[in-house]
């Protein structure tokens, strides 16, 4: 059995945001609303110290694909909507999901409702929820034009483009739909539609500093296994005992 995971090298990361933007494009996640970020990839950041002895760090975050995933344990449906794959991915099935958000409550890396602290990188949530009874891509359903007759609208743009969202990445859906419907949670799948076909996750592929390594930790010859063996690493909230599979190496700041 394999154990897929990711290493993020903080010495290489410059906190630019390319990973999170590529994730949004690849997975068609909607814009933040009602305490849900819909950012499967996001960041924590903090400035520490007193001027001029100040450091600043950024920590890219995503679903940790925990080996003992509380979200899976908490999923109340049968069969479970949130489950582990043999490769070690924490996967979600949209059809089975009942939108109870027990997974979101159970996950140490998620919050039911994000507040303003998430806007400056203090908090985040790797699981987001698409509210019941609401259009899951509201900006593309909006028919209003700011200059009627002259400028477009979201709805007209999507209609002319011929897709639910004009820039829709129409991948071949498995457990997770291309655009999630109302009343289901959503989160990172390690880009299962890509990685199960020999490709890298979008966030890994685009990183301009190559700070992210994705692979099988059980394969001693894989880059991820070699890096984890060679370098000191940590995981977020390791003490919760969930055995996260996203690791961090390196220091963000040379002055820290």
């Amino acid at each position: 059995m394999s154990r897929l995971g990711m290493v993020i090298d903080l010495q290489k990361c410059v906190g630019c945001g390319a990973c999170a933007l590529a994730c949004k494009a690849e997975n068609n996640t909607r814009t933040r609303a009602k305490g849900q970020s819909h950012n499967w990839a996001d960041f924590m950041m903090r400035t520490e110290g007193t001027f001029p002895k100040v450091t600043h760090w950024v920590l890219p975050v995503l679903c940790n694909h925990c080996a003992d995933a509380p979200c899976v344990a908490a999923c109340p449906v049968t069969p479970k909507a949130m489950f582990k794959t043999p490769e070690g991915i924490t996967m979600h099935n949209d059809e089975l999901c009942i939108g109870c958000r027990a997974c979101q409550n159970a996950c140490p890396y998620s919050r039911g409702e994000l507040d303003d602290a998430s806007l400056n990188g203090e908090t985040y949530s790797v699981i987001s929820f698409n509210p019941f009874g609401e259009d899951p891509q509201p900006q593309w359903a909006d028919k209003a034009a700011i200059i009627p007759g002259c400028t477009a609208s979201g709805a007209e743009t999507a209609m002319k483009a011929g897709a639910a969202t004009p820039m829709l990445n129409q991948f071949v859906a498995g457990d997770v739909d291309v655009v999630r419907k109302a009343g289901v949670v959503e989160k990172c799948t390690f880009c299962y539609h890509r990685t199960s076909n020999g490709m890298q996750p979008a966030c890994v592929e685009v990183c301009p500093s190559k700070a992210r390594i994705f692979g099988d930790q059980e394969d001693a010859n894989s880059e991820i296994a070699r890096v984890l063996k060679a370098e000191k690493s940590f995981r977020i909230q390791e003490d919760r005992g969930t055995k996260p599979n996203v690791h961090y190496v390196g220091k963000y700041s040379a002055r820290a």
Binding site: A18, T47, F171
Partner: protein
Amino acid sequence: MKLTRRAFIQATAATGGLLASGCATQPVTSAMVVRNAKSAGPAKGEWVATCCQGCTQWCAIKIFVQNGRAVRVRGNENSKTNHGRTCPRGHMIPQQLYSPDRIKVPMKRTNPAKGRGVDPRWVPITWDEALDTVADKMLELRKNGEAHKFVYIRGRYSSTATGLLYGALPRIYGSTNYFSHSAICAEAEKMGPGLTQGFYGYRDYDLGKTNCLVAWGCDPVSSNREVPNTIHHLPGILKRGTVIAVDPRLTNVAAKAHEWLPLKPGTDGALAGAIAHVILTEGLWNREFVGDFKDGRNLFVAGKAVDEAAFAEKETFGLVKWWNIELKDKTPAWAEKETLIPAAQTIRVARAMGKAAPKVCVWMGPGVGMNPRGTYASMAVHALNGLLGSIDVEGGVLQTAGGVPIGAFPKSDAYLDDVAKGAGKFKKLDGRGEKDMPAMMNARPGSGVVTNNIANGMLKDPGACKVLMASWCNFNFSCTGADRWDRALAKVPFFVYMATDPSEMAQFADIVLPSTFNAAEGLSVITNTGNLHGYATIQQPVGRRLWDVKQEETEVVWLLAEKLRNKGFPNLYDYLAKEFKDPETGKLPTNDREFSEIAAKISSAPIWNAKEAPKGDPQIKGWAEFRKRGMWSGPNYSFKRGWGGKFNTPTKKFEFYSEAAKKGLEEHAKKFNTTVDDIMTVTGYMARGELAFVPHYEPPKRHGSAAEYPFDFIDYKSRLNREGRSANLAWYHEFKKVDPGDVSWDDVLKMNPADGRKLNLKTGDMVKVTSPIGSMTVKLRLWEGLRPGTVAKCYGQGHWAYGRVAAKDYAKATPRGSNNNEILVDDYDRLSGSTARNGGFTGVRIEKA
């Protein structure tokens, strides 16, 4: 109990939700469940090559296209400059392309009243009607002998932008009043390398080999230039060498760096002088480039003049003069009083730079030069590269790589009538070359554009601009003293504006022509340099056009030329229709789209249509292959170009004593029958005598007294900026926090907590920021990443007419956030003509709102 989606939804409908009801239905849970995921697969489509233009690097990229829709973005894998990866800006292209506020059709103003907050009462019109009106207005001017009162302002670059809309159109029509936007961006930084080594351009850096990167007044992992390349190389430099950041604000590179020097804004010249002083007194200069004392003994001792004859220079000129005129007393202890940087840190940094020499990159950005005395700061900082011998060497600071053959458009001389030939006798509206505005780019007085001064020219003489054409710019938002532009634009009798989306500038237009979004819909050829290679990249349509838009610099030029011909002025049309031959087939264009393609083919033909392959990447055979591959890179940089007496300066050496500055200033003074000292006085510089010819420290000029306006205001750019065109994108706001200190979906003013305590202000307070020319109300964030005595806010928000996200309410002209340019004074580095926006040149006071 077996819980299913249907059962749950029924239950929640009855109880008002599982969570809300306190888990009335106790869920059945169990441990890990392992099962196979359902088969899934990646999206199918193709990657089409184009050019980003989200900053001035103009990266070669590819866009993933599915069913004619642009979906995702990556770097062009053939790029030696971005290594196949883009910075965050590139990923925002599809969102910008599919802005829900794209202008779909030409529109016409029906409300003659113009002003901020005045509804233009737009109505849609046909391209035919729109261009008929524009042609009529242009020809009316010509008929009245006022062709020079046609003014064109541009906001983007490409071969076709430069050669056609900015080139052929005004030239053949007969106006010299065409202006580029460059001087509001970074022109002052060209003066440093220009007046020392004769290179008036943006430098390239050998980041793969350097052992010391000094990011000075810029944040090259976020903005400025070569962002993906810098991100790519930074970890290596951090590992093997030293990274030093000079900026009053904790930038991204400052967060990563070994040393952060948060100097007082505008004192860069003092810090550079002190570093030079240490390099010389400690003997750390590069002998191979600079030379040495004839007897080998270092006579550079603080406070002591040196005999010029004692030093034998190699590739440089005037080192001892510079020492005697400026550097001998500029000790780190002296500089500490100006810069507020501890002398010990200045010494430590100078030693690190000296140790790494010549593999040092002193990377100067707009923070150094874009202030009212910026030319000299720019010279002082760049001169460090001279001392360290890092000019044009491995691991050092390079010039434009070049080596990219681009095809010139046909000559237009034969199509110039008497009006066009006589256009040169009229003065340009931007005041360049006036006594108080030398604008001496290339050391030639009056040769540089003074973009932001156009508004002053228009206000001074309201009859001077009768027909204004502008494309891809938004000067009543993006220029300091923005309200001057509102007033100037309101007085223009006829204004035609070309852009993709509504904007503040569009609000003053009479006709708006919807442009293609050129990174994904345009067709042109873009060249640039980075990571030791020059390159050319295609910019081409990647999918379907959704709207009735046209590329302003090619298609519109053609269609307008047709209209002008139909109305009796055939010259422009004849030039385009008779001279632009397809390099492959020899065919002439018969319509706008054919013309557009032929123009792009002419620009790029030397790359793919040459008998002899140009040196560089493997030869590209044919236009189709060029479009598919998307780019071509020239050969590796050849080092030491100017060495051996080949620098493009009067002495042919790297000039620490600038004979170029002397020549330019004396020429300018002579034109006004006065002295260089008098020119220094009227242009606001402090130097007198020989000091005007050497890199030196000028105390910062500041609008607003320290008593009344105690804080230095710092304006900076977001790494999500996309040339100032991303404020209407949700993703810009969602990830605004990637700019250190900033808050997503907000536009906060940062202040050091120590200042907050003094003023009894806390994070979240609304504060009023007042400068001598205006005020804005913003949310405060106390933040340690900023020097006390300064406040900082990012440029880019405060739009009142830029779309549904950028403006809080477009119909009511209510902005989201605040525009720094409404409080920043319009002032200039007059030697370059650049607009001041850095260096703490505008003081502000902060009060609780």
